[in-house]
């Protein structure tokens, strides 16, 4: 769940079009917005410290250092928000941007190795996102959701979203999934595209599952179960009758 929240935060970050790159955050804004972010991503029941900060960086961005939740984290998390008061109240800001620097997943940092996508990282992985949201028109411009690696690989996504209903930050993920993407740009810069694609996570082959003492849950079955449970809550028209019956 925390990982999903972390990804949600990444998905809503906006750099290119948010045009808040020079906005100066105050110490109070950094502390109050961090309180909301920590609630979304942090260990809510243990009170365990998940990073150092927040600080106001020299360029006016808020910054947390040595961020870690479970076995995932980053050396630095930087963010800005236009309408920070809304974030403090758990609501959508007018615009925001996030950058996670030197991300790690699992037991070690990306630069120490690891599998999957990090095989092509070699040095380090950074990621971030940004958005600008207009409550009146219910539209969101996702300026840039990106991942870069020190090996010269970069994948970036930009999107225009319509029909994004008003709501709090905690429900942003489901609302984004049921909104309408009217324009989408995906770009992939790679020093070796074949190696990049080959390193992307894949499903376990059937014979590999059979030889595993405790096989991981089948992702298709898990997703079907999850979607079947969520079906009654989805807005009309998202799932056609035939698909709903199949679920």
């Amino acid at each position: 769940m925390r990982a999903i929240c972390l990804v949600t935060l990444l998905l809503v970050a906006a750099r290119a079009v948010a045009d808040i790159g020079t906005a100066k955050m105050t110490g109070d804004e950094c502390r109050s917005t961090w309180g909301t972010i920590a609630t979304l991503i942090g260990p809510q029941d243990t009170g365990k410290k998940i990073g150092d900060g927040p600080f106001v960086a020299d360029d006016g961005a808020c910054e947390m250092r040595d961020l870690g939740v479970d076995k995932a984290g980053a050396r630095r998390l930087r963010w800005r928000a236009e309408g920070a008061q809304a974030v403090t109240q758990g609501q959508m800001p007018v615009a925001a941007e996030f950058d996670l620097l030197d991300i790690y997943l699992g037991d070690g940092p990306a630069k120490a190795g690891g599998g999957g996508w990090f095989k092509v990282a070699k040095t380090r992985v950074d990621g971030g996102a940004s958005f600008r949201w207009d409550a009146a028109s219910q539209t969101m411009e996702i300026g840039q959701f990106y991942l870069t690696t020190g090996a010269g690989n970069r994948i970036a996504l930009r999107a225009d979203v319509a029909g994004l209903r008003e709501g709090d930050l905690e429900t942003l993920g489901p609302r984004l999934l049921t909104a309408k993407v009217t324009a989408l740009d995906i770009s992939l810069d790679s020093t070796d595209l074949a190696a990049f694609v080959a390193a992307l996570p894949k499903r376990n082959p059937p014979d590999a599952k059979a030889t595993t003492a405790h096989p991981p849950p089948d992702p298709v079955t898990s997703a079907q179960t999850l979607l079947a449970a969520a079906l009654p809550d989805l807005p009309p028209g998202v799932v056609d009758a035939e698909s709903a019956a199949a679920l």
């Binding site: 049921t178 309408k180 009217t182 324009a183 989408l184 595209l193 079907q224």
Partner: protein, 54 residues
Amino acid sequence: MPDAAGRLDLHVDAPNGLVPASFILLGALGDATPQDVFRLLSGSKATIRWTPGG
């Protein structure tokens, strides 16, 4: 698949809107056909461009 450095761009214009949940659902069903994907993309225009270099 180009085995070289470069940039891959995908651009989609979807005046009717693409609902991300529909694609996730299609993937979860596991037996989606290309026709199912095209049905979701109906009314959209997609452009793919490969630029060698890097």
